[in-house]
Amino acid sequence: MATQTAPATSADAFYKQLGRMYGTYTGGFISFIVLLAILEQLGTPNRVLGYLFVFFTLAVYAIIGVMTRTAQISEYYVAGRRVPAFYNGMATGADWMSAASFVGMAGSLFLLGYDGLAWVLGWTGGFVLVSILVGPYLRKFGAYTVPDFMSFRYGGNFARFLAVIVLVCCSFTYVTAQIYGTGIIASRFLGMQFEIAVFVGLVGILLCAMLGGMRAVTWTQIAQYIVLIIAYLVPIVILSTQHYGIPIPELTYGRAIAEITAREQQLVKDGLAVLCTQQACPPGTLRPHLQPFMNYTPLNFFGIIFCMMVGTASLPHILMRYFTTPSVKEARDSVAWSLLFIFLLYFSAPAYAAFSKLEVYTNIIGRDLNTIRPWLFQWGELGLIQICGKNAVNLQAVLDACKGIANHPGVLRFQDFVINTDVIVLSTPEIAGLPYVISGLVAAGGLAAALSTADGLLLAIANALSHDVYYKMIDPNAPTIRRLTVARVLLFFVAVASAALAATKPSDILAMVGWAFSLAMAGNFPALVLGIWWKRTTTQAAIAGMMAGWGICLFYLITSRYFPQAGINYFGMSSLLNPETRQPLVNVAQILADPKWAADVPASAANPLANRVGWFDLNNINCGLLGMPLGFLVMIVVSHFTPEPSKEMQALVDEIRKPRGKTVLEEKT
C-alpha cells in the first residue's frame, strides 16, 4: 500500500506550519472583530454588521474548502490519515458541537435546572467509551467507514447493508436538526426568510464537503472550532467580569446560583410563583434550579446520560474522525484532545443558564410591569418571549395583555413569563449591555457550530452511499474518478433532501438529536464492541443482534411518537408519569374517547398522546435503553449456538488489538 509515511522531520514541519497557519487565522479573526467594533462606533447599522460577520466567515470556510480540495481516494475519505492528534481533536470538537449544543444547551439548562445536566454529562462522558472500547481499534483496522468494519468482521455485504441503514437513519435525523438550526440563526440575525436561510447555509456546507471530502472538512472544521469557541466564551466572560470582577464565569456562577435560590424562595413567599410539589405540579409552576429529578424521573435522567454516552461511541460521523490520525497512539491522544476542546464549551453552558436566570428573576419577574428591562421586546417581536400569554412586542402590548387577566397584580408573576430556550445564548450580549458586534459574533459562532456538524454528517452519509453501497456492493470495479463523482453527486442530493425536510420545521431539535443517539447506540454499539472484544461473536449473531436491538428501538420510537393509540391498544403502553407527583401526564382514556384524537393517525405534534406514552415510564429519547441490552443478549446467545468464527478471522481480531504493523484492511489507492 502506498501510504505517505513521511519521515519524522517533515511531519514536524507539517505540524509547525499548521500551528502558524491557524495562529495567523485566529489573529486575523480577532482583528476582524475589532475592525467591526470600530465600524459600529462609526455608525454602521447593525444589519450590515450581521451580514459582514456571516458572509466573511462563510467565505473563509469556502476558501479553505476549495484550497484543500482533492481527487485522491484516501485524502477524500480519511484525509490521507495524517491529521495530528491535537488538530483532529479540534476538528472533532466542531464536528461534535452542533446548533443544539451551541444555542440550545444553555436554554435547556435554564428551563430544566439540575435535570438539564443529564445532557451535559451524556455528551461528554461518551468519549471515554470511544477511547477505551472502540476508536483506536477501528483506526488500526483501517476502515474508510463504519460499515467497512461491520462487513469485514461479519461476513460481507448483508452486515454492511444493515450498518449503512443504521448510519443513514441516525445521521439523517441529526443533519436535519443542524440545517434547521442554520436556518434559525440566519433568519434571526440577517432577517432572511427561514426557508431561504436554510438553503444559504446549505451552499456553505456543500462548498466545503463536496470538493474535498474529509480533507477539506477537517481543515474547515478546525477553523470553525476557533470561531465557535471564541464566540461562545466572549459574552459570558464579559458578563462574569461585570457582575463579579473575575473573568472566569465557570467559577463565579456558583454565587449566581445561590442568588437564584434565594430569589426563588422570595418569589414563592411573595405569592409571585407557585411551587411544584408532590401534591400538584402543573405546567407553569416553579421548579427550583438546584432541585434534582423534577423534570426527569431518575430512570429517565440516568437513561439520557447513558444513551447519549453510548450513542457517542456509536455515531459514525464521530468514529470516522479517528480514522484520520497518523497512528493508533495518536487516535487515542486525539480523543483526549477532543474532549478537552468540547469540555471548554460544555462546562460554560451552565454559567449562561445561571446568569440569564438571575437576570430574569431579578429584572423581569417580580417587577412592576412598567419597569421591565427593554432588551426583551426585540425577542418578543420574533415571538420568542411571551408575557401574559401574548408576544411581548413592546411595553404597551405587555400592559394590555396583563390587563386582560383577572386580578392581575400589575407585577410580573412567574407564570406570566414564557421564554423560548434558543434566546438564552443569543440574548446574553444584550442582557450584559454589550455592543451589537458581540451579538454578531455569537451568530457567527452558532453558524459555525451548525455548519461543521452538518458537514461531518453529510460526509458520513455520502461516504456510506458511495463507498459502501456503490463501490462495494454495486460496482467493485468502478474507477477512482467515478467513485468520487458518485460521492459528490450523492452528497448534493442528500444535502438538498435534508434541507427540504428542515424547511418544513419538523420541530424540537433536542428530541431529534436524542433519537439519533439512541438509534446509533441500539444499532451499532453491541456489534462494534463485541466484534473487537469477543472473538467468539459470529456473523449470524451480529446480524440478528443488530436487527433485534435496532428494531425494538425504532419500533418504540415510532409507536410512541406517531402511533400512540396503537401503542396503548395493542402493545400495552401507558401514559408517562409526572416526575414529581407520579401521576399520569395525560388522561389516556379521555383522549382516546375524543374522536378528534382517536382519528389522528399518524399523530400530529399537537396530539396530547404523542411522545407521552410508553413502557416502564421510559421516555422515547431513551429507546436505546431497550435496544442495546437486547442487542447484546441476542449476540451472546446466538454466538453460543453458531459455529465459532474461522481461525483467520480470529487472527485478524488479534491484529486489530495490536497498534503495531499495517492496517488490517488495505485499500486500493
Binding site: L121, G125, I257, K329, R332, L339, L340, K658, R660
Partner: protein, 91 residues
C-alpha cells in the same frame, strides 16, 4: 521479553489491556452515575468561596474534569502497555 508474536505474549498484552479497560470503565461509571445518585445529600455540602452545592457541581463540572483527565491518563497507560509488549508503533 517473549517473542512479540507468540501467543503467550499476545495473551498477556490483551489481559493487561482488558484490566486497564475495566478500571477505566469503573471510574467512568462511578463519575457518570454513582456520584449523581447521591446528589441530594451532596447538595447539603456547599463548596467554600465558590458557593456551589457539591452535588450540582459534580454534574456541572466535577465529573467532566475527571473524564478529561482520565482520557489523557488512559492514553498514556495504554501506550505504556503497548510498548511493554513490543506492540507500539515506531514513530
Amino acid at each position: 521479553m517473549a517473542q512479540p508474536d507468540s501467543p503467550a505474549n499476545q495473551e498477556a498484552h490483551w489481559k493487561k489491556t482488558t484490566n486497564l479497560m475495566l478500571t477505566h470503565l469503573g471510574i467512568w461509571f462511578f463519575f457518570g452515575y454513582i456520584v449523581h445518585m447521591f446528589v441530594k445529600p451532596l447538595n447539603t455540602i456547599i463548596i467554600p468561596i465558590l458557593g456551589f452545592p457539591l452535588g450540582f457541581y459534580m454534574a456541572a463540572q466535577g465529573s467532566l474534569i475527571v473524564f478529561v483527565a482520565q482520557l489523557f491518563i488512559f492514553a498514556k497507560q495504554q501506550n505504556k502497555i503497548d510498548r511493554e509488549f513490543g506492540y507500539a508503533e515506531e514513530d
